[in-house]
């Protein structure tokens, strides 16, 4: 039916933070602590979680911007971390990243057209002669005007810059895009435009996305499959409909109950979580969510809940589901 594009198996990423040269204690921040998921071709996989849950780290690690600590990432069956330089360059064409902050992800001293075109030339997708034409094409698909190509990034607004960043990524005609909170820095009306652009590009080019966000309403609009993260682990993963209609994990329930509904007459029960997300240096024993979970018991402190299939492509990690 559908082919697997990206396969992540038990991915771990620890950052070590040594406390000076005289201290022997070496603490590590467990940013991503054993995450597995697969993305099929054409999927829009939403990765949702609060800040510090390791979403961006996953996004950057699977593109090999960071090294992994453990686990496996396979793109089209190839192990991303064992690629040699030449093959890595090939991977770079197929996968791209769109950053959260459109202000710092463009080099201030390079004209927009050059920024979009240089990778094309480097990978032999365009020659010095026809690069201009191809750049203008990509810019048009991303809703930019031709005269924008000769300007510098600081002459654009946030939304336009994000279009430029998207155009830069799209220039290589990738199959898979990692979106690291691409709309978080934009205001709502621009968010809508950019999200519509994503949908269009997906239809037109058959793209697959890993869409990292903390905004459930954006994810609901765009994604086909959603994973909820908490402190370096996926706590629940299901198709969009399944997740929104039938959330199982208490954390997911709390998140969904926090999504604002633009209707003051609707009454509903809010699940308020107490406290903050614990430190990833020293996570709670057992189920990491237990310190804030409304239904936690002693079992949760003792045993790590298994991430299991509860049917209907719905996975969750909780003892009481």
């Amino acid at each position: 039916m559908s082919e697997t594009l990206l396969e992540v198996k038990n991915l771990k990423k620890y950052y070590s933070s040594s406390k000076g040269i005289f201290s022997k204690k070496n603490e590590s921040v467990k940013a991503v602590d054993g995450v597995s998921f697969t993305i099929e071709k054409g999927d829009v996989f939403g990765l949702v979680g609060e800040s510090g849950s390791g979403k961006s780290t996953i996004g950057k690690t699977i593109l090999r911007l960071h090294d992994k600590t453990e686990g496996e990432v396979r793109f089209k069956g190839e192990d991303v971390f064992s690629l040699i330089k030449k093959d890595l360059r090939r991977l770079r064409v197929q996968t791209q990243l769109v950053f959260q902050d459109p202000f710092s992800s463009l080099n201030p001293r390079i004209r927009v057209g050059d920024a979009i075109g240089e990778a094309m030339v480097q990978h032999g997708l365009a020659t010095n002669k026809d690069v201009r034409e191809k750049v203008l094409q990509v810019m048009e698909t991303c809703g930019l005007s031709p005269y924008h190509a000769d300007r510098y990034p600081h002459e654009f607004s946030g939304g336009q810059r994000q279009r430029i960043v998207i155009a830069r990524a799209m220039a290589l005609n990738p199959e898979f895009l990692v979106m690291d909170e691409p709309v978080a820095a934009l205001d709502v009306s621009i968010q809508a435009q950019i999200i519509n652009l994503f949908s269009e590009l997906r239809k037109k080019n058959g793209l697959s996305y890993l869409f990292i966000s903390h905004d459930l309403s954006v994810v609901e609009h765009l994604c086909t499959k959603i994973a909820i993260m908490y402190l370096g682990n996926i706590v629940e993963m299901a198709t969009k409909e399944e997740l929104f209609d039938n959330p199982l994990h208490p954390y997911t329930k709390a998140l969904l109950s926090a999504v604002p509904i633009p209707d003051p007459r609707v009454k509903r029960e809010r699940i308020i979580l107490k406290g903050d997300i614990p430190s990833p240096v020293n996570p709670p024993s057992g189920c990491k969510f237990r310190t804030r979970c409304p239904i936690a018991t002693e079992l949760c402190a003792e045993k790590v809940p298994e991430f299991r299939d509860v049917g209907n492509e719905h996975f969750t990690a909780c003892h009481y589901v």
Partner: protein
């Protein structure tokens, strides 16, 4: 119908506005800074004086004429003559050629070495960084002037002809100059390489060469330019100091420094101020102008700093 269509067509005519390059924008801001512009024009004037001026001089550089020795400024010798009867103005212009060339060339050389080594060591880090930076540390831990003095003394001992000394002094000055620049560039690059736009170049799969020369170094260029400008002043001063001490450019080749040295006795100092005031003043004004221009450039390149 037609007219409406035409109207719409007119509306849609593409706007063609190419933004001026960042250098042009910088020049525009620099133009507003009067002091910097005056300095710039003074420096251009000094260049013209030094490089074009000698062609209009009726005197030959090394022609001595004892009969005309030690004459005060007059209509035929505008700045008088020195104790060998040579025209001071002509010598001043020729000395300018040498001092400015040494200043610019040694700056250029130390920029090239410093920027390249700094960029490489900041970009690759690890062992490369360690080796380059320790080398820089070693060079920086040796005080500059004594080192130059010793090297100058060695050159005199070896009786290096005065034409060659010029080039050797350039190289000496850049050897002393590059570590500071390399450190500066390295620091900049260490902070730049963590910027999201550098991560973007990684994801885009750009080559290391492209990353360093198209993305990193252009971003350090503004700072580099300012430091380079100020460095020229430093080089001119060092060269003058060395030549004054008789260890830099040696007579008969004139330089601003050794022209002052020629007046290094009480009689010349008191009785013949035209021997030492002109070179002293040119050194002073040139260095001050370069510093003011550098300051102006800093403000023009970084408009965020001001206001």
């Amino acid at each position: 119908m037609e007219t409406v269509k035409q109207l719409i067509y007119k509306e849609k005519k593409p706007v063609k506005v190419k933004s001026p390059s960042l250098w042009k924008q910088t020049y525009r801001r620099l133009k507003k800074n009067k002091l910097a512009m005056i300095s710039l024009f003074f420096l251009i004037f000094m260049f013209l004086l030094s490089f074009v001026g000698p062609y209009f001089s009726p005197y030959i550089l090394d022609r001595t004429d004892i009969a005309y020795a030690n004459r005060p400024p007059s209509a035929s010798h505008w700045l008088g003559t020195d104790n060998y009867g040579r025209d001071v103005l002509t010598r001043l212009m020729m000395a300018g050629q040498i001092s400015l060339t040494i200043g610019l060339a040694s700056m250029f050389l130390s920029i090239v070495i410093g920027a390249f080594l700094g960029a490489v060591s900041g970009f690759y880090r690890g062992v490369v960084d360690l080796v380059i930076m320790r080398l820089a540390d070693i060079l920086m831990s040796i005080p500059g002037l004594p080192l130059l003095l010793i090297m100058g003394a060695i050159l005199s001992e070896w009786k290096v002809p005065s034409e060659y000394r010029l080039y050797i002094i350039m190289i000496m000055l850049s050897v002393v100059g590059w570590p500071a620049l390399a450190r500066l560039v390295r620091g900049q690059i260490l902070s730049l390489r963590e910027q999201p736009f550098m991560q973007a170049t990684e994801v885009l799969g750009l080559s290391d060469r492209r990353k360093i020369f198209h993305h990193l170094i252009p971003n350090t260029l503004p700072l580099l330019l300012v430091v380079a400008t100020l460095n020229v002043a430093g080089s001119i001063l060092s060269e003058s100091a060395l030549s004054f001490l008789g260890l830099g450019v040696v007579p008969p080749t004139p330089s601003w420094g050794n022209m002052m040295d020629a007046a290094n006795n009480y009689m010349d100092f008191r009785k013949r101020p035209w021997l030492w005031i002109p070179p002293g003043l040119t050194i002073f004004l040139t260095v001050v102008s370069i510093n003011l221009l550098g300051d102006g450039l800093r403000d023009a390149l970084d408009p965020k700093m001001k206001r």
